[in-house]
């Protein structure tokens, strides 16, 4: 809304006063809420550089006697593996998962957006339904299925389903994006001699790249945060991803060395924060394309 236009109709003096007050109020709300929002994060980062005792003594986030002890000790972890092992495990899960998610989602979305498929409406409705379906209703049979396949305590159950476009949200997102793209461009490619797969690779993918990046980023974040799936599928500590390792850390280091746990938490969210700041426009686009334009 245009503040200037909204206040223009008022008498000049009260208008200016009210406008300043309104501005002040709004910034006050925004900054206050913003501080409350970010303070837990600031505190986490600050506390990770504090000696343990200081964490309990002060509520300020800035460490008075900064130390890397939390990182040094935390990295060693209470287990026989360093935190590096868990980070590596996380990436061993996430990298293949993101890749197969992107590939399968793009292929399936292309099929839905550009082809006459028998039963297309029903299939697409089912796709939306999978977004709304509570995953816990699938959890137990999926677990039994992977147990019968002998996949327990491997990374396979964590990313193989993603190769079959099981995240309906991503497919939906790309379909929405493709619908917004002119078909004529793809027809030009067909006339230029592309088959449908070449059209997808040479023309469609470059054009919908922002959507693809969004999908990759969201899948990265969600997988980073994923806890329940690794919890039920992985039993050997040496295969734990970061999320499980952190849970393990608070269970064994309870009440003693918060700075270690917070240091590792900081490391755990660091990739997400960096990615988020580097590519926030893709997050905003990705999350809004399915709702506002849908």
């Amino acid at each position: 809304m245009n503040v200037a236009a909204a206040t223009a109709a008022m008498p000049a003096e009260t208008g200016r006063g009210r406008r300043a007050l309104q501005l002040l109020l709004r910034y006050g709300v925004l900054i206050g809420v913003g501080l409350l929002m970010l303070y837990p994060l600031l505190w986490m980062v600050g506390a990770s550089f504090k000696p343990n005792r200081e964490i309990f003594d002060t509520i300020g986030f800035w460490p008075h006697s900064p130390t890397l002890e939390g990182y040094r000790e935390g990295w060693r972890t209470g287990t026989e593996h360093t935190f590096g092992t868990y980070l590596a495990n996380t990436f061993k899960i996430i990298v293949p998962k993101v890749i197969v998610t992107v590939i399968s989602s793009v292929l399936v979305a292309y099929g839905f957006a550009r082809f006459r498929i028998p039963g297309r409406r029903i299939l697409f409705a089912l796709l939306i339904a999978t977004v709304l379906l509570p995953k816990s209703v699938l959890l137990i049979p999926q677990y039994l299925m992977f147990r019968e396949l002998g996949w327990l305590d491997t990374f396979l159950p964590l990313y193989v389903p993603a190769a079959f476009a099981t995240e309906g949200f991503f497919v939906f997102m790309i379909v929405q994006f493709m619908r917004g793209c002119p078909v004529e461009m793809e027809e030009a490619a067909v006339i230029d001699g592309c088959n449908s797969l070449q059209t997808l690779v040479y023309v469609v993918v470059p054009v919908i790249l922002p959507a693809i990046i969004s999908v990759a980023l969201f899948q990265f974040m969600w997988s980073m945060n994923d806890f329940l799936q690794p919890l039920i599928y992985l039993s050997s500590v040496e295969k734990y991803p970061v999320s499980l390792a952190l849970k393990l850390a608070i269970d064994v280091t309870e009440a003693t060395s918060w700075n270690q746990v917070l240091a590792m938490s900081t490391i755990a969210v660091l990739p997400s924060i960096v990615l988020f700041y580097a590519a926030q426009k893709y997050f905003v686009e990705g999350i809004t394309v399915g709702s506002v334009k849908g």
Partner: protein, 385 residues
């Protein structure tokens, strides 16, 4: 089987139960610039897409250069298409856009570069070759789209309303450019538009399409002067032809006497037509182009009514007359006509310029003077009242 011609044989297209094209027959000679024109939804774009191979016909054959291409993929048909939205690849440079088709054919780089350069020279695009489409103006993008077609060296160019995204000034300029290109390349072109001005100015042959059917095919002035039916007569020409309901009063050797419905005075019009074309009493429609009408003494005129609106366009004046009990009539007069709103005027027409349409809409004969402009412009104008 000359190279470059196009033949459509009994082409049909249905989407479900909707018939988009019905039994289209068309023969295009090599080197022709054929314009398919019709109102929106008439199936003209579908026709073009069928020729391009982007849609499959429900029935019928398509031949290009004598070769049956009905089942041939688009890239192997020897066609190139210029899209309404240009459809340039946004992530490729101008040169890459133009060379993409050759690249897909696996042509050597040097050949691609050479052919792109040649097309760029024809279209004066040389300095833009390394730019991305978004850094170009609308007219430049249009030229790149045409350049992409030229590079493919097709047997037939297909244009899908290529000028409709441009503003009026640019549209006129590009129209001239396309005409020049046609003359320079001597290629066969199939051009789809809803704009009759483009059709009239560009075409060597016009195809009028309506509701999926070909209404008439012919040279522009031929269609203008001898429309085969009411639709064609009404579609070509701006302002539109005036249609007045009438009936056959009597026949005389080699002529029909036509009386207007509801006309209380004035003598019937005598049109030179073969008498066997119509029976006495048959309802017909009289068609008169605005430029063939002239103002006359109300008493001695064919129709009379009051002037509802006068539009002065400078070189000409459009006068709208509402006769009692009939629909509004448009009259085109020269620029200086002294006529004003509210005037009571009579209208007269030269029978030699009149079109006659039967109850089914098809033309009965043709105006006997279907060769030159009317002499009406110089006629004596008298205003009654």
């Amino acid at each position: 089987m000359t190279r470059g011609g196009l033949a459509l044989e009994g082409l049909c297209k249905r989407f479900g139960s909707v018939e988009i094209l019905r039994d289209v027959q068309l023969e295009v000679a090599p080197g022709d610039l054929i314009v398919v024109v019709g109102p929106s939804g008439c199936g003209k774009s579908t026709l073009l897409r069928l020729v391009a191979g982007l849609e499959t016909p429900s029935a019928g054959r398509i031949r290009i250069g004598g070769r049956d291409v009905t089942a041939v993929p688009p890239a192997e048909r020897g066609i190139a298409m210029v899209f309404q939205s240009y459809a340039l690849y946004p992530h490729m440079t101008v040169a890459q856009n133009m060379g993409f088709g050759l690249k897909m054919q696996g042509r050597p780089k040097a050949e691609i570069a050479e052919r792109v350069a040649r097309a760029a020279q024809i279209l004066q695009l040389g300095e833009y070759l390394d730019r991305k489409p978004r850094a170009l103006s609308g007219g430049q993008r249009q030229r790149v789209a045409i350049g992409r077609a030229i590079v493919r060296d097709p047997e037939i160019f297909l244009f899908d309303e290529p000028l409709s995204n441009l503003d009026a000034a640019l549209r006129g300029q590009m129209r001239v450019e396309i005409a020049r290109l046609h003359a320079q390349l001597g290629a066969t072109m199939l051009y789809v538009t809803h704009d009759q001005v483009e059709a009239m100015t560009l075409a060597s042959t016009i195809v009028i399409l309506n509701a999926g059917r070909v209404e008439q095919v012919g040279a522009p002035m031929e269609l203008y002067r001898r429309p085969a039916n009411r639709f064609v007569a009404g579609f070509l020409g701006a302002p539109r032809m005036n249609f007045v309901p009438a009936h056959v009063v009597s026949q005389s050797p080699g002529a029909l006497l036509i009386g207007l419905e509801g006309a209380t005075h004035g003598s019937p019009l005598r049109l030179v037509r073969a008498t066997e074309a119509a029976q006495v009493g048959m309802p017909v429609t009289l068609g008169m182009r605005p430029e063939h009408l002239r103002l006359a003494d109300a008493a001695a005129s064919l129709l009379h009514g009051s002037v509802t609106l006068v539009e002065r366009l400078g070189s000409e004046t459009l006068v709208y007359v509402k006769p009692e009990g009939a629909e509004q009539i448009t009259v085109k007069l020269d620029g200086g006509s002294a006529v004003a709103r509210g005037d009571l005027v009579g209208l007269q027409v030269d029978a030699a310029h009149c079109h006659l349409f039967g109850p089914d809409g098809s033309a009965i004969g043709a105006p006997s003077d279907a060769t030159g402009q009317s002499a009406a412009a110089g006629a004596n104008v008298r205003v009654a009242g």
